[in-house]
């Protein structure tokens, strides 16, 4: 991308904004803390280098984090943020460099050492055991015991205390399996606080949260901050970062580029520092909506195994060339609706028609064969065979269609050729099409899926969180593909937790709450705050209330 | 036919450099378990040892493994044959099929096979036993010893061979008193041969039989039999052993309860076969070791059998005389 990048030392504060290409004037963070005692520095990472086979994930990183600050770290996918945080948390040893915590140099050989000096980490991917209760997940490794016996009462008391004082709202006795992502996120935070951590690492905690939940979380963070806790915070959502951080460090290609003050930089400038490109904006151009209804859902009801209506009498029409957005707090029936449309869940009542044909009794495969594309919410569980090569992943979901198969046989040659096409067209960064899907970074995995699902001119695309956890560059590419397909007449059902994406990319926007479609809003004149309110049932959106 | 006229010493045509003993190379192919199985194979080994007293014997003993194929058995016999062993004794009728394939390839080698008489080859001699007759006799003993008119039989694995024991035993019991109840149980079914090696199960079954009213139980269950003896000692009831005189090998606390054992002269058979062959008296076809030939019998080492001996001998005479024919199937 950008050759000749100038690596700079992050501390003392960089005084040469021109180091960043695109050279916009970026005010440099001023550290009042610097004048204070050295102990005001909670964490100092100096000269950290971490190599993996063939990859230098971190290179000569320097970061200083002030006590009581929320310190954000931003960078594109694979920039090395998580690697750095894992180093700080003792999950692996750095190849070079020193770590100083509270003024003392430390060397961790396991997370247990890091926990011992008061560091806690919330990982990018949940680190929870589904089949254990919240309490068990939280106390694990730091169990209160009485005579060797787990002291459930003490643990419960302490969890309730933490939960109450930070407003986490945690019920210790539920199975984690039963929790939605927001709750899981809070359990993760509680886990860290339970251990008495004074330095918190939060790796992309907001990726799966809706705005209200993000606000809640930020409320929690401020709460923590006021208690004197230090937070290291990673996110791809730059406006969030700007709103919550006291300081921001940008990492690019494994090294620190600059540390900036959020008050004096814009999201745009941050994006440029990160990737050297503009911040992409989700938006649709002229309407391409036609009169032809492609996918029609009428009075659809789906029941959970417990008998509750998780999708309750939902009706929905998607025309050719239309993107219908579906907004809702996670766990309100979106997943079930999608799975019912895909034929993965049995429906209780109602009709689903595709181009006028009732497909309610069809199997998933028939639906896919007849032009329904599917970008699943959980790409690793539903979208990929992680251990299979890319070209086999190209076949997945289209194993009865050309060019992947000819009659009964897999057409390897054609499938590989088409995989190469997708890799080129969708800019999937990979050394080849025979590497396993697991070896691609998340964003590239996503691009492969998007490319696959858009191959063979689908009529309908069900897109669940198509850009989740994907960096700004990849996001722009995916949006562009969606726009093009829409122009070609594709009918899209878009589900996303990113409200800006929903608002920007939808022709029609509906809100789902407790399995019911509660309102329809006009994406052209709704703000994400209003939409968020509608999603929580706090009030209908005034504008564009339609049925 | 072949009886106890042992060739004492070198016999005719002694090639021996040794003055008295003739040198023979005997190959033994055991069934699963091999030497040391404290059962059938060990009896064969004992026969071999007996023969050693009179002959200068070089032996090679190979044993089968659980779940092997016929071809592996054939290879074992071939191995012995090509290594120059002659005669070769196959222990157990499981070798019948493989012997039929191997023997014709070595017409100059003499083969003996225990428990099978299906071969018509000129160089194979089948050595079979009238287990039903010995079982009949211990049945007669059991019928006299029972006070509750209730006796039991435990078979290891339900196969025609073991059913022969069952048939003879039941017939013996009924011959004395038809009103006596005979409880019958098998531990497992072929090809699940675990029944020959599950003393725990035999113990449970035996306890069940004793609790169910039996006071004498006979087993034909190989290595599982020790479970029966334990149960008998615990319940202070009687048990009957099989193949060898199990009174001799039982522990002191079990001995008083081992009424007798049905003897199967595998040792005698092997001994005779080797000696006869050395004496140039190999005869193709088959030899039946029955009561008449003294190849089977019952043990009398525990004195508690004494009061019942008269009747047993009585029946024995009748069987030998042919006035009683003992059934072979239940």
């Amino acid at each position: 991308m950008l050759p000749g990048l100038v690596f700079t030392e992050s501390l003392p504060p960089l005084s040469d904004p021109a180091a960043a290409p695109g050279a916009c004037a970026i005010a440099v963070a001023t550290h009042s803390a610097e004048t204070e005692l050295p102990t005001a520095v909670a964490v100092e990472l100096h000269g950290i280098t971490k190599r993996f086979p063939g990859v230098v994930a971190n290179h000569d990183i320097d970061i200083t984090v002030q006590r009581g600050h929320v310190h954000a770290i931003v960078g594109e996918n694979g920039a090395g943020k998580s690697t750095l945080m894992k180093t700080l948390y003792g999950m692996h040893k750095p190849d070079e460099g020193t770590i100083t915590v509270n003024g003392k140099p430390v060397s961790f050989s396991s997370p247990a050492d890091a926990i011992a000096v008061g560091i806690g980490m919330v990982h990018q991917h949940f680190m929870l055991a589904d089949n254990l209760t919240v309490l068990e997940n939280i106390v694990l490794g730091a169990e209160p015991t009485r005579g060797g016996v787990l002291d459930g009462r003490a643990a419960r008391r302490k969890i309730r205390e933490i939960s109450d004082s930070y407003g986490l709202g945690i019920d210790p006795d539920v199975l984690v399996e039963e929790l939605g992502v927001g709750d899981r996120q809070r359990v993760e935070i509680c886990k860290v606080l339970f251990r008495g951590a004074r330095i918190l690492i939060l790796d992309e905690p907001t990726a799966v949260l809706v705005p209200q939940e993000v606000d809640e979380l930020f409320g929690n963070l401020r709460e923590l901050k006021s208690e004197g806790l230090t937070v290291l915070f990673i996110s791809h959502k730059l406006d969030e970062v700007l709103s919550v951080a006291d300081e921001i460090t940008v990492i690019r290609r494994g090294t620190t580029v600059q540390t900036v003050d959020p008050k004096s930089v814009t999201a745009r400038q941050l994006a440029q520092l990160m990737v050297g490109s503009e911040l992409p904006i989700p938006e649709l151009r002229e309407s391409t909506v036609t009169e032809t209804a492609e996918l029609v859902v009428e009075n659809l009801t789906v029941r959970s195994t417990g008998g509750r209506a998780v999708v309750d009498d939902v009706s929905l029409v998607i025309h050719q060339g239309e993107i219908v957005g579906l907004a809702g707090v996670e766990g309100n029936g979106q997943a079930e609706l999608v799975e019912a449309i895909m034929g993965m869940l049995p429906i209780e009542s109602g009709r689903i028609t595709l181009g006028g044909t009732d497909i309610g009794g069809w199997h998933t495969r028939e639906r896919r064969e007849n032009g329904v594309g599917y970008i699943p919410e959980d790409r690793q569980r539903h979208g990929l065979l992680l251990e299979a090569p890319l070209w086999e992943n190209r076949i997945l979901g289209h194993q009865t269609e050309r060019p992947n198969v000819r009659g009964f046989w897999i057409d390897r040659g054609a499938a590989k050729k088409d995989t190469r096409r997708i890799v080129d067209e969708f800019d999937v960064r990979t050394p080849g099409i025979t590497v396993p899907a697991a070896s691609l970074s998340g964003g590239n995995q996503q691009k492969l899926i998007v490319g696959r699902e858009m191959s063979g001119t689908p009529k309908v695309l069900i897109a669940s969180h198509p850009t989740r956890g994907v960096d700004v560059g990849a996001q722009a590419a995916i949006w562009e593909h969606l726009r093009n397909a829409r122009a070609a007449g594709l009918a899209v059902l878009l589900i996303s937790a990113d409200l800006d994406e929903l608002i920007g990319m939808s022709d029609t926007l509906k809100v789902i709450l407790r399995g019911r479609l509660v309102s329809e809003v006009d994406p052209r004149n709704v703000t994400s705050e209003e939409l968020g309110a509608a999603m929580t049932g706090a009030g209908p959106v005034s504008s564009g209330e339609a049925s | 036919s072949s009886s106890k006229n042992n060739s004492s010493g070198g016999g005719g045509g002694g090639t021996g450099s040794t003055p008295a003993k003739k040198t023979v190379k005997v190959g033994l192919a055991y069934d699963v378990g091999g030497r040391g199985d404290k059962s059938f194979n060990d009896l064969a080994a004992a026969g071999l040892e007996k023969a050693k007293a009179d002959l200068n014997i070089q032996t090679k003993e190979l044993s089968a493994v659980q779940g092997e194929s016929d071809q592996q058995k054939a290879d074992r016999l071939t191995l012995l044959a090509t290594a120059g062993y002659n005669p070769i004794v196959a222990i157990g009728f499981a070798y019948a099929g493989s012997l039929a394939k191997v023997a014709p390839k070595f017409p100059n080698i003499h083969f003996g096979i225990i428990d099978d008489n299906s071969s018509k080859l000129p160089n194979v001699e089948g050595l079979v036993f009238a287990e039903n007759e010995s079982s009949f006799l211990v049945g007669v003993a059991a019928a006299q010893a029972t006070k509750k008119k209730n006796v039991g039989f435990i078979g290891g694995v339900q196969t025609p061979l073991i059913q022969k024991f069952q048939a003879g035993y039941a017939a013996g019991v009924k011959a004395v008193d038809p009103s006596i109840k005979v409880q019958v149980a098998y531990i497992s079914q072929a090809p699940d041969f675990s029944g020959f090696n599950d003393p725990a199960k035999a113990k449970v079954i035996a306890e069940g039989m004793y609790d169910g009213g039996a006071d004498v139980v006979y087993h034909a269950a190989g290595g599982s039999g020790s479970g029966l003896f334990q149960a008998a000692a615990a319940k202070k009831a009687l048990a009957i052993g099989v193949d060898s005189d199990q009174y001799q090998t039982a522990t002191a606390d079990q001995k008083p309860y081992i009424l007798t054992s049905a003897l199967k002269g595998v040792d005698t058979a092997v001994d005779n076969f080797i000696k006869d062959d050395a004496a140039g008296k190999f005869k193709a076809g088959s030899v039946r070791f029955d009561l008449k030939a003294g190849g089977v019998g019952y043990a009398t080492s525990n004195p508690i059998i004494d009061p019942y001996k008269a009747k047993i001998e009585d029946f024995k005479a009748k069987i030998i005389a042919g006035t009683i024919t003992v059934p072979t199937t239940p």
């Binding site: 999950m91 247990a112 009462r153 419960r156 809070r186 939940e213 959970s304 | 069940g208 079990q254």
Partner: protein
């Protein structure tokens, strides 16, 4: 407060269990269990009275049930420990074989059954250690390792038996001499007291007496110790910090590692305990039989594995599975074809009960299936006097399969069970 809870109905649905509970309990509480047990006893008593198959509830059957169930249960418990830590252990059979050999060996040469226990522990430990090294350190496929260990153990036991037992009165490569055994602890007077009541064949009363007679006259110290291992396991794994850590390795080792839990060490402990338990099962078998005999485990390790799955990877369920198996095995062993035939009536009645329950729960389709099954089994029962003897030894297997087919399966194995784990993998 969180906004998530009121919004996501899923989050709070299906919550059960009292607050004092660390993990969700099953659908039944203690009271229900007692009720079911009582109902079962009455049913059994009724069937016994109708069919006259007294072995169904005889005191001796209790002793036999325990004796037959314990080795299976211990193997299953071994499987449970191992799999709760995420390591599949199909080598239980092999570890059990080592347990039979070492148990007998130690008991024989020390003249003490107590040393037999130690032998079982050691024998099993060897097997467990090999499995642990192979699967945890080297990340070998857990099934292959298990199969290999069983092969290895068979060879080793035979080899060592040849070395140790040859020349010892009655011993050899395939069996040991008679070994000293534990004697049953008999409560004085119980035998005759309960025995008398039992002999009357009164409905329920005699059956209870039979049960009590079995419990008071047939259990050895070894049996009691082994039975105690079940609650002990439950306590250790579900009530202590150690247990939580161990189970977390089977659910999500990455999470465990990220909280400083030494995953390798926990897995090592679990797999070694697993071997020890299977070894104890073997030693128990040798003690009960009073002898080591090659092949005496007879697939009990595999049945233990099945019992563990039957019990949904929990000690209580496992005990129920092993108990069911041991009971049917005891009944078929002691009562043979007649008692097994009587079991048909029991099965028919149980199906009626299950069908009725389902009907009450308005689950029509399965209810009807259950009732139709009941009628079919009843017809089978009434038109025959016996069941083919060839099937008798296999009754426990058939019954177990039937129970599984009828009971709906909500099995939940540890989430990371069988997946090789490497340190730092989750980072």
């Amino acid at each position: 407060m969180s906004i998530q809870n009121p919004l996501a109905p899923d989050a709070t649905a299906g919550r059960t269990g009292p607050p004092g509970d660390l993990e969700r309990t099953g659908r039944f509480g203690t009271a229900q269990f007692i009720l079911i047990g009582l109902g079962g006893l009455i049913l059994l008593s009724f069937v016994r009275a109708v069919t006259g198959a007294s072995p169904l509830t005889a005191g001796g059957t209790v002793g036999a049930t325990v004796a037959l169930a314990v080795p299976i249960g211990l193997a299953g418990l071994g499987g449970l420990w191992s799999e709760r830590s995420g390591v599949v252990n199909i080598g239980l059979e092999g570890m059990m074989i080592l347990g039979t050999f070492f148990g007998a060996d130690f008991a024989y040469f020390s003249h003490s059954p107590w040393m037999g226990i130690l032998g079982g522990v050691l024998g099993g430990l060897i097997g467990g250690l090999v499995h642990a090294v192979a699967t945890i350190t080297f990340g070998v496929d857990q099934i292959v390792s298990g199969v290999a260990i069983t092969i290895l153990a068979t060879g080793l036991a035979r080899y060592l038996a040849g070395v140790f037992f040859t020349g010892q009165g009655g011993g050899g490569p395939t069996q040991s001499p008679s070994i000293p055994q534990f004697q049953a602890l008999k409560v004085p007077g119980a035998e005759s007291f309960f025995g008398k009541i039992e002999a009357h064949h009164w409905l329920v009363v005699s059956d209870v007496a039979g049960l009590l007679r079995g419990l008071t006259t047939t259990l050895t110290p070894f049996t009691i110790l082994m039975i105690l291992l079940f609650p002990l396991t439950w306590f250790l794994l579900w009530r202590t910090a150690f247990g939580l850590r161990l189970r977390s390795c089977g659910e999500n080792p990455a999470a465990a590692e990220s909280l400083g839990v030494p995953v390798y060490r926990m897995k090592y402990i679990a797999v070694m305990v697993s071997g020890v338990l299977a070894g104890l099962g073997g030693a128990f078998l040798a003690d009960f039989a009073g002898i080591y005999r090659e092949g005496q485990t007879g697939g009990r390790g595999f049945i233990g594995l099945a019992a563990m799955i039957f019990g949904n990877w929990r000690p209580g369920g496992l005990a129920a599975g092993a108990g069911l198996f041991g009971y049917t095995d005891a009944v078929q062993s002691r009562g043979q074809a007649k008692s097994v035939h009587a079991l048909l009536l029991l099965v028919a009645l149980l199906l009626v009960a299950v069908g009725g329950y389902l009907l009450w729960r308005r689950r029509l389709r399965p209810a009807i299936a259950g009732l139709v099954g009941a009628v079919l089994v009843f017809i089978w029962y009434s038109v025959t006097n016996d069941i083919p003897v060839e099937f008798v030894p296999y009754t426990p297997y058939i019954i177990t399969l039937l129970v599984l087919a009828v009971a709906s399966q909500r099995l939940r194995m540890p989430a990371a069970d069988g997946i090789p784990w490497r340190k730092g993998q989750g980072s």
